[in-house]
């Protein structure tokens, strides 16, 4: 290789290497972690889930996705009790398969509450899952658990609510 050609190739390699470094450096850099802000985002979902959980109790037909017979999730599952997020996925007789908590929530909405239900990846479904899971926080994973009692006792208000309207 002649010296002139070598210089050209080396310059090109250096330029490419610099670009790769810049690009990879951009990908690897992160915003500073902000646990409090992340938790606030979760609590927004929990609060929305709480609202949906209690929608339907008393008001029949206004939220057809959730209920058309006046029943809400909280009629049978106050505080998200007896949802047992720690036990899913599991075989559930009513689903007829190994299913997820989201699928069971939809089963309750559609069969017990006569609602149309939600897409499993919808904001609403994720919010209800977040509510049920948060209310059962601290429980140990227990796949397949089938029991009638939630293994927790809540003291105090559970989590802060603004008490506006029907929660």
């Amino acid at each position: 290789m002649r010296k002139k050609q070598f210089v050209k190739v080396s310059s090109a390699a250096l330029l490419l290497g610099s670009l790769v470094f810049l690009v990879s450096g951009t990908v690897q850099s992160k915003e500073p972690l902000d646990d409090a802000a992340d938790f606030d985002r979760l609590m927004e979902a929990v609060a929305y889930g709480d609202q949906l959980w209690h929608t339907g109790e008393g008001g029949g037909g206004k939220h057809k996705e959730l209920s058309t017979n006046g029943l809400g999730c909280a009629n049978c599952h106050p505080d998200g009790s007896a949802t047992q997020p720690e036990s899913w996925p599991k075989y559930q007789t009513n689903l007829g398969k190994v299913g997820t908590l989201r699928e069971m929530i939809n089963w309750c909405i559609q069969v017990v509450q006569n609602g149309t239900g939600y897409a499993l990846d919808s904001k609403e479904m994720i919010a209800m899952e977040a509510y049920a899971t948060y209310m059962n926080r601290g429980t140990k994973l227990n796949p397949g658990l089938n029991a009638q009692t939630s293994p927790f006792v809540i003291s105090g208000p559970g989590y802060p609510t603004n008490n506006e309207g029907n929660r």
Binding site: H54, E57, L71, N75, S150, P157, G158, T161, N163
Partner: protein, 350 residues
């Protein structure tokens, strides 16, 4: 009754209202815990109790108990059919109950139409019935429609030698005027079991005064059957599975040899005994509540795990039979027999 017995009963009746209203929360809790493990006052002092109960002339009888229909103002709602199924079940009971007590929450949102629907079905009973209110019946119009249909919220009757009491135990301090809530908003909060702005329920001062007067001249050997919507003990206050002035109620009733307290609200098989008062919970005709994970420090009973796909599982009627010795036995009459453990099917002694 011997002279010394009269003196002690007289002394017991001298407990003033101030005495028991003055019980601190700590003192009340201690009383309750002691009551679980200690024999009743009557049996401790060797008076009243069994010996006295044997003297009381009781003509055996049976009452049926229905509760918590939570009817909606929606045509052909499935809760209507379950309510009516329980009414039909009672009409077919043999021997026929002398009376039916409805332990509250006929309606879900307190609408007059809900209560009217319930009354129309209760009117199909072939025997007399009495009703006490639940919170779902009450907080839309503060009991106006309920009183129009069912009369007094506190009542008592004497039946075959027993004294039967029904009380409104779901009175809450005013939490709605300050924030300016509408009646619908007030009801909306109360109908949530987890309402954390509603505060605890009770019979409140006027109820205690009524009860004190009602039982003042009733002899201690008279069997008492006490109906309230909420339990007369602190089961799970977060869900209002309690009555805030239950310690005061128990103090008023302490002079009696045997008090059989039957309550609604919990939608589940449940039992507790504090001193001379046995409390038994009831199944609904709407939905079952889960058991909160409370470690109960006394013998207790539960229904079996229920199938959410069977809308009648865990629901049903009940009957309470009182024997000639003044003791009672509560029977669960479920729509779905598999929900009740065999031991409970044989009856719960009260």
């Amino acid at each position: 009754m011997e002279e010394k017995d009269k003196k002690i009963f007289s002394d017991k009746e001298k407990i003033t209202r101030r005495d028991f209203l003055g019980l601190s929360a700590k003192g009340a809790a201690a009383t309750m815990i002691a009551g679980v493990f200690a024999p009743s006052v009557g049996s401790m002092i060797g008076l009243g109790g069994v010996a006295e109960a044997a003297k009381k002339k009781i003509k055996p009888f049976t009452f049926a108990v229905l509760t918590d229909g939570h009817l909606y103002d929606i045509k052909d709602h499935r809760f209507d059919a379950m309510f009516m199924k329980a009414v039909d079940m009672v009409n077919k009971m043999s021997p026929r109950p002398d009376m039916v007590i409805y332990a509250g929450d006929i309606g879900q949102t307190g609408l007059e139409a809900e209560l009217k629907k319930g009354k129309q079905m209760l009117d199909k009973l072939k025997m007399p019935y009495k009703v006490i209110p639940g919170e779902h019946d009450w907080y839309l119009d503060m009991g106006k429609a309920w009183r129009g249909f069912f009369g007094d919220e506190n009542w008592s009757i004497n039946h075959n030698g027993a004294h039967v009491i029904g009380m409104n135990s779901i009175k809450i301090d005013d939490f709605w005027t300050g924030p300016g809530l509408t009646p619908e908003e007030r009801m909306g909060r109360v109908l949530e079991l987890e309402c954390n702005s509603c505060g605890p329920w009770g019979v409140e001062a006027d109820g205690l005064e009524w009860l004190e007067k009602d039982v003042k001249k009733v002899s201690p050997d008279t069997p008492i059957i006490f109906f309230s919507h909420s339990p007369l003990w602190d089961y799970y206050p977060r869900w209002n599975f309690n009555t805030k002035d239950a310690p005061e109620i128990r103090a008023i009733l302490r002079k009696f040899d045997n008090v059989m307290a039957v309550h609604g609200h919990v939608h589940q098989v449940l039992f507790n005994k504090i001193g001379n008062i046995s409390s038994v919970g009831t199944s609904s005709t709407s939905w079952p509540w889960p058991y909160p994970a409370v470690d109960l420090p006394y013998p207790h009973i539960r229904h079996n795990r229920l199938d959410p796909g069977n809308f009648e599982d865990g629901m049903g009627a009940h009957h309470l039979s009182v024997a000639d010795d003044g003791s009672g036995t509560m029977f669960y009459d479920p729509f779905e027999p598999s929900s009740i453990p065999d031991a409970v099917k044989r009856g719960v002694k009260l």
